[in-house]
């Protein structure tokens, strides 16, 4: 279960929130100019990052406000929380960890009933002091 720090309400249980998928996907600036291929990209294609992913969440049973979050989709570790409309913050992590295509995926050796081990190439929670807290100036 995720413990999510709403920028307005503070840390709350995941069950209070709604998932909104990938963040920073703007509506096409000139919709009339799009062909079918480009529409398909906007409607159906989203990044499916293994690693740090910028995503939207809605605090549906709290303040009912949307916000953005950087979360590691492998370890589920929350890296940053920041307001809608602001750019994705820089979270400094070891270079190798950024890529979802790193060769030693942690889940390749885990079994169904154990939590994935954190391998050298995935993001160790210790390397991310910003974990689960909003970057400065991100709230209000």
């Amino acid at each position: 279960m995720l413990l999510i720090s709403c920028p307005n309400c503070g840390p709350r249980d995941e069950t209070e929130f709604h998932y909104g998928g990938q963040a920073h996907v703007p509506y096409p600036e000139n919709p009339n100019a799009l062909n079918d291929k480009e529409w398909a990209q906007f409607l159906f294609y989203r990044d499916n990052t293994k690693g740090i992913f910028a995503e939207r969440w809605l605090h549906s049973t709290g303040c009912r406000q949307w916000f953005n979050m950087l979360r590691d989709t492998l370890t589920y570790d929350i890296q940053a929380i920041y307001p809608m409309g602001t750019p994705r913050p820089d979270v400094t992590v070891p270079a190798a960890a950024e890529s979802g295509t790193a060769s030693t995926a942690a889940d390749s050796t885990t079994t169904g009933d154990s939590a994935p081990s954190i391998s050298a190439s995935s993001i160790a929670p210790a390397a991310t002091p910003a974990s689960a807290t909003a970057p400065k100036g991100a709230t209000k």
Partner: protein
């Protein structure tokens, strides 16, 4: 009905060869779909100089984690065709593969709890019958006769208002299915290579000519992706995108019980489905966790929610215990239908997007994907499931038949 003896664990099923420097085709992913694809490539198309590359151990991904429900009662013609073909293959495969993987056609019930459910279910029964899929509508009394432990009282939050029933549906032993395919693949000369992770692709212009792995570079003329939850990661390495989101999907089992549950019961509305495994465990699952995830684990409230639903539907389960829970990584699409066909990269083919319900499709996915890899053209049964549908708009919306269900 009594609990069943599982088949003896055979000592030897396949060799563990070193990867060769080149193959005629390479299948990425040694789950059910990769193994079935390799089997049909060898058997139907004479392609035996091929390899299945698996980054972990054989069938340790979703193939080891699914709840093994097999059925074909999907709404649309395209889905009914491919899933029904799969079901017909399941019916002959134990003999063909010479391996009894305990395919048990004990029937599957999909409960209806609201008027909307009832209408949708009856529509689906009608559509199924027109497509030659065995389907019946049961009223609550008939539901009770088939599954006496189900609570059909109308004083619960979501009373049972009826159910669809597919008598030929059922369950099988997933591990044994994988081993059955693997053994035949091996006999036919296919190299099954475990602990071999694909880390990149070699391309000549836009044509794939090889794969890079942690065990060296392998040249090949054709690549078939069968990587389920990791399909997007591989597509990204190859330089294209897939309309897939990977989610955790969890399941759980109880301790062993005397046989109490004779069929398979699923409820989309209250989000739970239950069967009883051959050995006696109650096997339960629910919907995906909402967030994207590659962690093979999900959140506890999803389990809590499904247990609440299970206990209301099956009051005797209140005394059972959760023994084990686990999760897989499922590759979901927006129309809840799979993607099978060519890709923007020449000679690279993709089979993915089976999401929460691809175990049942394993034989037909393998058969049709092998055809596509061997001939470079769609099979009549997978044609509609090509990537192009997201551009033409010809989506195959199976949320009603597939949503929580598997």
């Amino acid at each position: 009905m009594s609990t069943e003896q599982l088949p003896e664990h055979p000592e030897f099923l396949w060799r563990n060869p070193e990867p060769k420097s080149s193959y005629d085709a390479v299948i990425v992913g040694g789950g059910g779909h990769g193994l079935a694809t390799a089997y049909y490539l060898a058997k139907n198309h004479g392609m035996t100089n091929i390899a299945v590359l698996e980054k972990g151990w054989l069938a340790g991904g979703n193939m080891a984690r699914n709840t093994t429900i097999i059925r074909s009662n999907y709404l649309w013609d395209e889905s009914a065709a491919i899933y029904e073909h799969a079901l017909k293959l399941w019916e002959i495969l134990p003999e063909e593969l010479e391996y009894d993987f305990l395919f048990s056609q004990r029937g599957v019930m999909n409960l209806a709890h609201t008027l909307g459910d009832v209408r949708e279910s009856m529509r689906r029964v009608g559509a199924n019958q027109l497509n030659g899929v065995d389907a019946e509508w049961l009223d609550p009394q008939q539901v009770k006769e088939l599954c006496p432990i189900l609570n059909i009282n109308d004083n619960i939050r979501y009373p049972v208002m009826g159910a669809t029933y597919q008598p030929r549906a059922g369950i099988a032993k997933h591990d044994h299915v994988a081993w059955a395919f693997a053994r035949k693949c091996d006999e036919l000369g296919v190299d099954i290579i475990q602990n071999c992770e694909v880390t990149g692709f070699l391309k000549d212009g836009n044509r794939v000519v090889g794969v890079k792995t942690n065990r060296g570079t392998i040249h090949t003329e054709k690549v078939g992706l069968c990587a389920a939850g990791h399909s997007s990661v591989l597509a990204e390495m190859a330089g294209f995108r897939l309309p897939i989101q990977s989610h955790p999907l969890q399941a759980l089992v109880s301790e062993l019980h005397e046989p109490v549950h004779p069929t398979v019961v699923m409820s989309n509305h209250v989000h739970v489905y239950v069967s009883q495994a051959h050995k006696g465990e109650l096997v339960m699952g629910a919907g995906v966790d909402s967030y994207n995830g590659y962690g093979q684990r999900g959140s506890f409230h999803v389990i809590e929610h499904q247990m609440a639903a299970a206990v209301e539907l099956f009051p005797i389960f209140a005394r059972a215990h959760v023994l084990r829970t686990w999760g897989g990584i499922v590759d979901t699409t927006l129309d809840a239908s799979p993607i099978v066909g060519t890709t923007p990269v020449e000679n690279m083919f993709v089979n993915c997007g089976w999401g929460t319900g691809g175990f049942k499709g394993t034989p037909a996915a393998g058969l049709t994907f092998a055809h596509t890899i061997a001939t470079g053209t769609p099979h009549t049964l997978n044609k509609a499931f090509a990537l192009e549908r997201f551009e033409t708009g010809a989506l195959i919306d199976e949320h009603g038949a597939a949503a929580v269900a598997h």
